[in-house]
Symmetry: C2
Subunit: 345 residues, 2 copies
């Protein structure tokens, strides 16, 4: 049964600005053997997430960068092929962090066994996984939404934004989404149940946003930055909260743009409106994982939270899919399927 070859994508060079095809290299290597306490995994789903852009840079960040020549990192859902651990048997489906490759060897201690009867396995890297936990912990701990307040989130049809808005609704808030294009906005409004969704492709975007926030904005869950932040600032209410989760609009900036320095505007708004801006990383709230899984599982079962996945087939399409993610081309949680999902009949 052992497969002879493992295809993997390594970082060939560090991107300057937008990642280009030549920054990546598809390699075919031998499938490694698991050592004692390890398992050999075949990847079913690879999760693609915006934070990966940061890992491609050499500069210091909250995690070490991927080295040039190293396999791109990423969360994965895999089938156990061989096990040298008493904790796993072949056929087990596990959540791991084995990166952009078809096979991987991993220490058993780094894996979490998934129960396909509980929820579709792909949700372990989506609504029930890192993106869902990011939305949950950032919104509740830092955003602290209160009944009747207005919560705004961009990338509202995406893995994190969709959960932010739906939890805001559960907490009795007005949920306002921002998304690119009519299809996504319709989905955010009609399927996810947000109160409003603004299409940032439309020209009078700041005015559109203002129109759907008649009582201002109390919580802005920041995952994009750029012109969305600029449009939000004048709308923020006193004592507003801004959990800073991501800045996808900035990730490809290779240099700061010329123009005007708007730091005085931002700092002035923080001062005069007594805003709180606070950055966070999902791992800061790891202790809330069980509470999150309990709440989110219940919300999924009762239909209070819905999700959408955008599944791309084949490792060879991962780079293009990731490039599209940074441009908002995906529609829902982006996954690359490297092997058939054995839990789907």
């Amino acid at each position: 049964m052992r497969e002879k070859h493992n295809r993997r994508i390594v970082l060939a060079s560090r991107p300057l600005g937008e990642p280009q095809d030549e920054n990546f290299r598809l390699e075919t290597v031998e499938v490694p053997f698991p050592g004692e306490g390890q398992v050999l995994l075949r990847t079913i789903y690879l999760s693609l997430d915006p934070y990966m852009r940061g890992r491609m840079n050499a500069g210091p960040s909250y995690a070490p960068p991927v080295e040039v020549g190293q396999v791109m990192e990423g969360g994965t859902i895999s089938t156990v092929v061989e096990s040298r651990s008493p904790d796993f048997v072949p056929g087990d489906v596990v959540l791991g962090y084995t990166g952009w490759q078809e096979y991987a060897v991993a220490a058993a201690t780094t894996l979490l066994k998934l129960d396909p009867a509980r929820a579709p396995i792909s949700t372990a890297v989506g609504v029930l996984g890192m993106p869902g936990l990011t939305a949950y912990t950032g919104l509740l701990n830092i955003g602290q939404p209160k009944l009747g307040e207005t919560v705004v989130v961009a990338a509202a049809s995406g893995a994190v934004g969709s959960v932010v808005g739906q939890i805001a609704k559960i907490k009795g808030c007005r949920a306002v989404g921002i998304a690119g294009g009519k299809r996504k906005c319709d989905f955010v409004l009609n399927e996810l149940g947000f109160d409003a969704c603004v299409d940032h492709h439309n020209a009078p975007f700041p005015q559109d946003l203002k129109a759907v926030c008649p009582k201002g904005v109390d919580v802005y869950f920041e995952n994009v930055g750029g012109r969305v932040l600029n449009a939000i600032l004048p709308l923020m209410n006193p004592f507003g909260r801004v959990p800073v989760c991501g800045l996808i609009a900035h990730y490809n900036l290779s240099e700061l743009s010329r123009g005007i320095d708007r730091i005085p505007m931002l700092m002035g708004a923080i001062l005069v409106k007594r805003l709180k801006f606070q950055g966070f990383i999902v791992s800061d709230f790891a202790a809330q994982k069980d509470e999150f899984v309990r709440d989110m599982t219940q919300w999924l079962h009762t239909g209070k939270v819905k999700y959408r996945e955008d599944v791309v087939d084949g490792l060879e399409n991962a780079v293009a899919a990731f490039q599209g993610l940074l441009k908002g081309r995906n529609f829902g949680k982006l996954l690359v399927r490297l092997a058939p999902d054995p839990t789907i009949a």
Copy 2:
């Protein structure tokens, strides 16, 4: 005993950028009569504070602007000249908010009687007043300094900064000040007991600052903005806190400066280092006033907190003194003395 004339300074026009002499007008008018429940006050000390620059602008802020033609606002310490309230008798010394004028009528309910035996009356607008409370509440509630952490504050010889650093020392932190010129730095180090003070007039300011923060910065009490913020950002430690109290370097900006937009840099630092930036106004923490007065009175009596005042004589010098305040020309808490202090022998 009634004085015939009241001299006062009104806002003649709104400054664009730095306040100019012609933005103010010294007027001489009749001394008003107190109505029922009111008292007539003679100002002893007028407090000059950076926030007053914001009041000169028409734009929305946390408080309504001073209207053109209106007396400039400000905290004052005064003697009661006539009283039509059972709560005050002539000779009482009171804290009020009666503005840039020699006489004023005020409702008794807006005044606080001071006990000259407890502390010098001028401290009621300084270390025991609004600036002290600002430092205390912003540092403790938002900054949350912990034993062994590094706390940085600019305008370190000023009314707020001097208290921030001294409370940081009381809490077991390394206190680093920033001040303009050797005299101020010597005072901050030798009199106030900070661990270090960096002269921002010196050319290698960012390097000097880095050198005295070998373990990075955990709390930056922001009261200046501008290039100090730029120098601090790379030094901030993960989970650092930035109480945003004031932005004196920005107050005179009539337009945003051209150059580069550094918002991505600031937001990126907030995200990657999980910083908290939070604006506040002293009135947000009014409920902590009694606790503050108790603590600060004790610290003053035990010598743990020291203060320095910069006293200018005569209302006619108030405008120049205020212009100097915005340029850091004062050395200590800036006061204008409009009448002899009756409590000083």
